[in-house]
Symmetry: C2
Subunit: 319 residues, 2 copies
Amino acid sequence: MKLFAVDLYSLTPEDIAAIEALGYEVTVAKPDQAPDEVCRDEEIEVALCEHGYLKKHMGKMPNVKMIQMTYAGLDLMGPELFEVYKDAAICGGSGIYGVPLAEWSVSKVLDIYRCERHFEQHRKEHKWSWEGSTETAELWGKTVLLLGTGDIGAACARRFGAFGCRVIGVNTTGRAVEGFDECHPISALDPLLPAADVVVVCLPRTPATIGLLDASRLAALKKGAVLVVNSRGRIIDEEALCRLLDEGHLKGAALDCFATEPLPEDSPLWSQKNLSVTPHRGGVTKAIRRFVLRRYLDNLARYRDGRPRLARIDYSRGY
Amino acid sequence: MKLFAVDLYSLTPEDIAAIEALGYEVTVAKPDQAPDEVCRDEEIEVALCEHGYLKKHMGKMPNVKMIQMTYAGLDLMGPELFEVYKDAAICGGSGIYGVPLAEWSVSKVLDIYRCERHFEQHRKEHKWSWEGSTETAELWGKTVLLLGTGDIGAACARRFGAFGCRVIGVNTTGRAVEGFDECHPISALDPLLPAADVVVVCLPRTPATIGLLDASRLAALKKGAVLVVNSRGRIIDEEALCRLLDEGHLKGAALDCFATEPLPEDSPLWSQKNLSVTPHRGGVTKAIRRFVLRRYLDNLARYRDGRPRLARIDYSRGY
């Protein structure tokens, strides 16, 4: 089986040996090399590369049977490559980012509850002051509403649960998921919003989720609630969020993803009161190479054995 | 049973009713009122007050049988009150602060691993930049060494464990404690230090712990390790810590307690690179009132029933 890999994550000789041990003949290309520059691309059966690379070389690798990407959201991929490579199983990165995104999410909620920014300002002023400390709250005993119960939601659930939170999940059908105290269908979202102390958005961006947390749903959140978005922009109404932060209706919020990325330098979000902004890097930490390699090896073994692949994308479903 | 309470935590009518329901006759004083200003103090059997109040009114309440404080460390109390009230069971606040201090500790380690201060600086400059993001690490898979396996250590262990960390505890005898992967006696500390990615100090300050993490033990920590102190100052060598942070040997550190408190305005710790400084408030969050009341009610029921009290202080032991 001929495997073609674009060397995005610095595959080591050990990584390549592990892929070869599964029965693959490996060709590695640099990101700026076309498939047919480094091998006879019609012989490629499996490809490890990203959507941007596929778009650039659309139609190359005409007989590819499986394409493994590391991106999790097909909203960025566009329909064309699913049309051109319709005979291939195209697999995404869902399941790779749960650990770092759950850590990012818990970290942001704790910083907001602990008034971290406030105490950091005191530190800069060399001020030993308990001012603001009566506002310091704790995760313990809080109700956390996780929108999305996939890999990221489940990783969040385990961690928030260990802090003594009640963890409620929302997914398409309301099916129960391990680690959640209860799960509800997305159609039953509205009554859950005023009861949550913390809302974490870990949903893919699909026609069904765009604009889900619109101005009226955000306004329905409990006074003092905390909102965190770790997945995609355009699921929440950013302007409505800013108004609720200005009014003090929400205690704080943290966004790692935005309607427009990169966030323009003149966006008011950068200096919005009680809002933390990070540049869509919540999912990237040092261990990500290991998580990517684990996915490669897992799905390559599944392909070889004819078993269902993880995170195979169904374009019509939206993820 | 006559109970005297100094109203430090704003006891509500419901709180007082709950104490009365246990069979106590309750007198509440303001912090600036002496016991004998508000009642016949020789009749007081149980007192809810702090060490500072006791010192100010030393010898009042001559027949008190139980004193319940909320302070956890007797290092701040001094020997005299244990001499004057030697016939009373003096109970401390150990067990009240586990939840907030564990949240503080996890929050600080996550902020250090995620280069939070770095990204916050980018935010202030309206800079969408991935610079620094390759340094972002995760808790998952790390080895966390908790010095102290009491209430705070155990609350830390549960949370770090849920993040996928290996959790190692150190206590006096090496006895096993739930939530820890392994426990060792403090006499076997030295070989554990170079193996830990994260060290959290949750020890009381006693003659045995003062100076425990001296310059040579701190230097034995792994390159890139993270150090967090949530309990008391003087257990670590602050100057040695600063040198290791300057040299980049440690990735970062967070201190909530210091050799000298309040930390003087001209202390170099305030502006030490890669050091987070908070004003000994890690243990105080909004829920602390509930945790204090729970301890009051628990120990008052135990006193009434003649059962052993929680966190009864043994002055000779040091906690």
